[in-house]
Subunit: 198 residues, 2 copies
C-alpha cells in the first residue's frame, strides 16, 4: 500500500515533469494526479528536488540497461539489429522516460551529471572497446565507435522525443504496429547498409 503510493507519486511526477519540466510542474499538480494531498506527497519526498531526483534515478536504471548487452562474442550485425529494436521499444513504451532524460541532459544535467558521468563513461568505454574489437576482426566497417553509439541513441530516441513532429510529418506514431516495424526496418537498414546503392 505505502509502496504503491510512492510508486503512483513517482509515476505522476514522471508524466508531468517529462511534459512540462521541473519548473513547469507544481507539487499541487503532481499530488492531484497521484490522488494524494500535497502534504502527503511531501511526507514521502521531503521536497520537490528530492522527488525529482528520485524520478531521475528510477529512470536511469531502465535507460542504460540495453547497452549492457553488447559483447564481443555476439555477431555485431545481430547485436545492432537487436539493440535498435530494444531501444525503439523503449521509445514506444517509455516515452516519458525518454523525454525527461532528454530534458535533463539538455539543461546540463545539473542534478544527474555527478552520478551519471562516471558510470556512463565507463559503460561506453567498455562498449567502444567491443565495437573496436569487431572492427579489428573485420566484422564491422571501420567507424569511430563513439559516433556509432551516438547515432543508435539519437535515431531511436528521436521517435519518442520528437513524437509530435514525427506525427505532424509522417502522420503516425510508434503506437501503430505497422509504423513501428517500418521504422525499425528502416533504421536497421540505414545503420547497417547506408543509403548509397551498391
Amino acid at each position: 500500500m505505502i509502496e504503491s503510493k510512492r510508486a503512483s507519486i513517482l509515476q505522476a511526477a514522471l508524466e508531468l515533469f517529462s511534459r512540462f519540466g521541473l519548473h513547469g510542474t507544481s507539487l499541487d499538480q503532481v499530488a492531484t494526479q497521484a490522488d494524494v494531498s500535497k502534504t502527503n506527497l511531501l511526507y514521502y519526498f521531503g521536497n520537490k528536488e528530492e522527488l525529482y531526483t528520485n524520478v531521475l534515478r528510477q529512470l536511469l536504471e531502465v535507460w542504460l540497461q540495453p547497452l549492457q548487452a553488447f559483447s564481443v562474442e555476439q555477431d555485431p550485425v545481430e547485436a545492432i539489429r537487436d539493440y535498435l529494436r530494444v531501444k525503439l521499444e523503449l521509445s514506444r513504451d517509455h516515452p516519458a522516460e525518454s523525454r525527461l532524460f532528454c530534458m535533463e541532459i539538455m539543461q546540463g544535467a545539473p542534478l544527474l551529471l555527478g552520478e551519471l558521468q562516471q558510470p556512463l563513461h565507463d559503460l561506453v568505454e567498455n562498449k567502444v572497446a567491443v565495437i573496436q574489437a569487431w572492427i579489428d576482426a573485420g566484422k564491422l566497417a571501420p567507424i569511430a565507435p563513439h559516433h556509432l553509439i551516438f547515432s543508435l541513441w539519437a535515431t531511436t530516441q528521436h521517435y519518442a522525443d520528437f513524437r509530435v513532429q514525427v506525427e505532424a510529418v509522417a502522420g503516425k506514431t510508434l503506437d501503430d504496429p505497422a509504423f513501428f516495424e517500418e521504422t525499425l526496418k528502416s533504421l536497421q537498414s540505414l545503420i547497417l547498409d547506408g543509403v548509397r546503392p551498391r
Copy 2:
C-alpha cells in the same frame, strides 16, 4: 538602437529559455542578462508568452532552411553529405536554438504546432518526393524517405542537445575542430554506407 535592444532581449531570452525552459526562466533574469529593466522588457514584449513566441518564431526561420536545398537535380550522395555538414554546423554554432526547438517539440509544441504543422508537413512531403525520385532513378538505396530525414535530423541535433552527454562520454564537443570533422566524417560514412563490411 531600438532594434538592437529588441535583439539583445531576444538573444538573452533564447539563451535562458533554451537552458532552463519557459517556466524555469524569470523575466527578471532575461532583463538582467539583456541589461534592461524588466519594465523596459515588458515595453517591447507585452508579456512573457509573447516574448517566448517571438523567440520561437525567429528560431524557426533558421531551423528549416537547410532542408530547402534538396532538389532532384543534385547528386543525392553530395546532397546528403552537404546537408549533414550544414546541420552539424548549426548544432555547433546555434546550440541554443537547437535545444529550445527540441524542448518546445518535446512539450508538444503548444505554441508552435499551429503554425509549424502545415509548412513543415508540406516541406517534408516535397523532400520525400525528391528522395523517392532519387531512389526510383537508382541513385539511392530503397529506404523509406521519412526515416532518412528523421535520421539526418536526429543524428546531427544530438550533438547540440546532448552536448553534456557527448562531452561526458567522448570528452570533446563540436567546438573542437578536429572532433567536428571526425563527427562529420563518421556521420557521412554511416548514413551513406552503413557499418556492415562490404
